[in-house]
């Protein structure tokens, strides 16, 4: 079979128009350049779109030919191994399959996969590591935002007793910290170590003498710890960053800002719901109505509306969106 090609001898950049003859005796001959070698000594590169096919001859000689189809036929006729990649790329079904596989994989990573990997990571990460990370976060917060609590000993004891009622007998370590924080305002948050913080400003909004509404908040925060939300959030942010980075070919601004926003806005609602479900279960277990916490959330959401124009910090840390659905959710379990 005859193939038209250009030959480069590898010594200079000179171009020679040649005809390559692949003979039945499995020899490859280029008469004009006195080349006559065994077929096995010629490396024919895999096909890549319609780019000129490179054929490597001994002694650094290279030929390039645009007759891709003829060369494919030739490889077939001589029973030479053909790269499968071009076959996949030129098959519509397999390309579509690749799209589906990729989309499915990314979807899996962002949904179930992140949970699996978070659980997996959580199981191999020693608790001491989580504690260490939490300790660093706590010391940062203590330094900048948290002050000693001004609650009375009596108030603390009532709330502590509630806290013990939902955490006693658990394998996981839990500790409640009372703090005052004018910067953070009415707030409660949990760290993966099991340390749960409650601000005086939140307690001040309580409308129940027995602080049964605060119990609901604590049960909600415990839910975050049980479901390992902070770890899952971190993993999802990381995964979204990698995916977007790969897609845009850019690991800079986009990859660091967008995933955080995406993840924070869309996932935090799901996480809040999970923690709410957990809170409802805990409250039912200790026989406290959910109406108290529902009422507190109502008060809180009104306070939030008033304050949100003047405190940018509130907005930044508003990872607990107090939507009417959430309040209604708690009311629906109240009796």
């Amino acid at each position: 079979m005859l193939i038209n090609a250009v030959l480069y001898d590898g010594q200079t950049s000179k171009e020679h128009e040649v005809t390559i003859d692949f003979t039945f005796g499995r020899r490859v001959k280029i008469a004009s350049c006195n080349i006559d070698v065994a077929l096995e000594d010629v490396v024919i590169e895999s096909r890549l779109g319609n780019t000129p096919r490179v054929m490597e001859f001994p002694n650094g000689v290279r030929c390039k030919s645009r007759e891709n189809d003829k060369i494919d036929q030739l490889l077939h006729d001589f029973g030479l191994r053909k790269s499968k990649t071009h076959k996949i790329e030129s098959s519509l079904v397999l390309t579509l399959g690749s799209v589906l596989l990729t989309v499915g994989f990314i979807w899996f990573l962002l949904t179930g996969g992140a949970n699996y990997s978070a659980n997996f990571l959580a199981s191999i990460l020693p608790q001491s590591t989580l504690n260490e990370v939490s300790r660093i976060t706590i010391s940062q917060l203590e330094e900048h935002y948290l002050k000693p609590s001004k609650l009375s000993q009596g108030q603390k004891e009532v709330i502590q007793a509630h806290f013990d009622s939902i955490t006693k007998g658990e394998k996981q370590y839990y500790k409640l910290h009372f703090r005052s924080s004018p910067e953070m305002g009415a707030n409660a948050f949990a760290l993966p170590s099991g340390d749960i913080f409650l601000t005086d400003q939140l307690v001040a909004l309580s409308r129940d003498k027995e602080f049964r509404d605060i119990l609901g908040v604590l049960a909600h925060e415990k839910g975050h710890v049980v479901e390992k939300h902070s770890l899952r959030m971190a993993i999802k942010t990381g995964v979204a960053g990698v995916v977007i980075g790969y897609m845009t070919g850019d690991i800079s601004v986009i990859a660091t800002t967008i995933p955080t926003i995406l993840v924070n806005s869309s996932y935090s609602r799901a996480f809040e719901h999970e923690a709410d479900e957990h809170a409802v279960k805990e409250l039912q277990k200790v026989g406290v109505s959910t109406k108290y916490v529902a009422h507190l959330f109502e008060v809180l959401s009104k306070a939030h509306e008033k304050s949100d124009s003047n405190s940018s910090f509130m907005k930044m840390t508003a990872s607990h969106p107090l939507t009417s659905e959430r309040i209604a959710y708690f009311y629906s379990y109240a009796h």
Binding site: S13, G49, E305, K315
Partner: protein
């Protein structure tokens, strides 16, 4: 009277024959196979992608070739990822800051050497007409360059950056060769200062224009719809529980973020246009000059609209944007050579891939 015979320079532009449809398939299959092989295939994917782009780049009717060996790339990649993983493990999980610090210091000390390796890798794995490019810069010159210019820029508060930029280009281009022929770079720091002034003026004008338009739009909306907005506000207040007051705020902030992203990518293309032209216009292979004819404003537009296309196609238009950008930059670059047959080869060389993979992994731009 003596006539000086001026050589007539015939510029030929590069031609890019790749197309989005073909590249889409290569890209998609690359990703799928990378997922199925848990990342191992990524080295082959990189070679296939680069082979595709190089082989579709033509100059004077002949195309370029990318010759990197995927196995070597895989090894380089594993080393870089391994070292980085060790660093992260020691730093973020085991809190052994001494060990993490040691890895970081070694990494920083190795940086100039690795960057030189990356430059050399890119050049020696590129060939044209079966004659490979090569790099002869010395490791010592890289250490001297980075130490001197780091200090210089610290003491001048980055004001000397254009000078450092030109010196870096000299270090790269004056040590680059095509076979036996040498590249040379004749740029001056003054040119770079001039470019920065132009970029500054244009960018300021653009930002000013955007704010003007936004202001006018905002005012217009207020005047035309003031009654409707009043009504809307009233209805919002009557059902405060149902409508999230933060909603409007978040729509505005998403819009502003989007504008900001468009701006970042516009500016990237815009700056790229100026600098590519500058480097091309000051570079020659022996006496054969390169020429850059990119329009920075056009390149900025391509960059911004590309990111728009990527976001709204959820990434599926990425191959189209990549081909579009490459086609524009290559087809606005030309080269004037008398005789394309004259170059003698120095032969193919092999070497380490760690530097290249480091640059790739951390997405560093060494400007080649």
């Amino acid at each position: 009277m003596e006539h000086h015979i001026e050589e007539v320079k015939v510029y030929k532009s590069f031609v890019f024959e790749g197309n989005a449809r073909e590249y889409f398939r290569i890209w998609m299959v690359n990703i799928a196979l990378t997922i199925l092989t848990l990342g191992i295939y990524s080295a082959w994917a990189k070679v296939r992608t680069n082979r595709y782009f190089y082989a579709n780049t033509y100059l004077n009717g002949s195309n370029f070739e990318y010759n990197a060996d995927p196995i070597r790339i895989l090894i380089g990649r594993l080393i870089v990822v391994g070292v980085y993983a060790l660093f992260i493990i020691f730093f973020q999980y085991l809190f052994m800051f001494e060990v993490a610090g040691f890895i970081a210091v070694v990494g920083v000390l190795a940086m100039p050497w690795l960057i030189r390796q990356a430059v050399s890798f890119k050049l020696r794995n590129t060939s044209y007409r079966n004659v490979p490019f090569r790099y002869s810069g010395k490791i010592g010159s890289f250490y001297t360059f980075f130490i001197l210019h780091a200090l210089l820029n610290i003491f001048t508060l980055m004001l000397a950056f254009p000078y450092s930029y030109v010196k870096f280009k000299e270090l790269i281009i004056n040590n680059a060769h095509y076979g036996q022929a040498d590249f040379n770079f004749k740029g001056k720091a003054g040119d770079v200062y001039a470019i920065y002034i132009q970029i500054f003026i244009w960018t300021t004008l653009l930002i000013f224009a955007v704010f003007m338009v936004l202001g006018l739009l905002g005012a217009g909306v207020n005047i035309i719809f003031s009654e409707e907005i009043g009504a809307l506000n009233a209805s919002l207040q009557s059902i405060p529980q149902e409508v999230d007051p933060e909603l409007i705020g978040s729509i505005v902030s998403v819009f502003l973020l989007f504008l900001y992203i468009l701006f970042i990518f516009w500016q990237k293309g815009f700056v790229d246009g100026y600098f590519s032209n500058f480097v091309r216009n000051k570079t020659a292979l022996e006496t054969a000059p390169l020429k850059g004819e990119l329009k920075p404003l056009t390149l900025g537009w391509i960059g911004a609209s590309n990111i728009f296309a990527i976001v709204f196609s959820l990434g599926l238009l990425y191959p189209w944007t990549k081909v579009r950008y490459l086609k524009y930059t290559l087809e606005h670059t030309s080269f004037a050579c008398q005789n394309y047959d004259q170059f003698e080869s120095y032969g193919y060389e092999k070497g380490s891939t760690v530097g290249e993979e480091m640059v790739d992994f951390f997405d560093m731009d060494i400007g080649l």
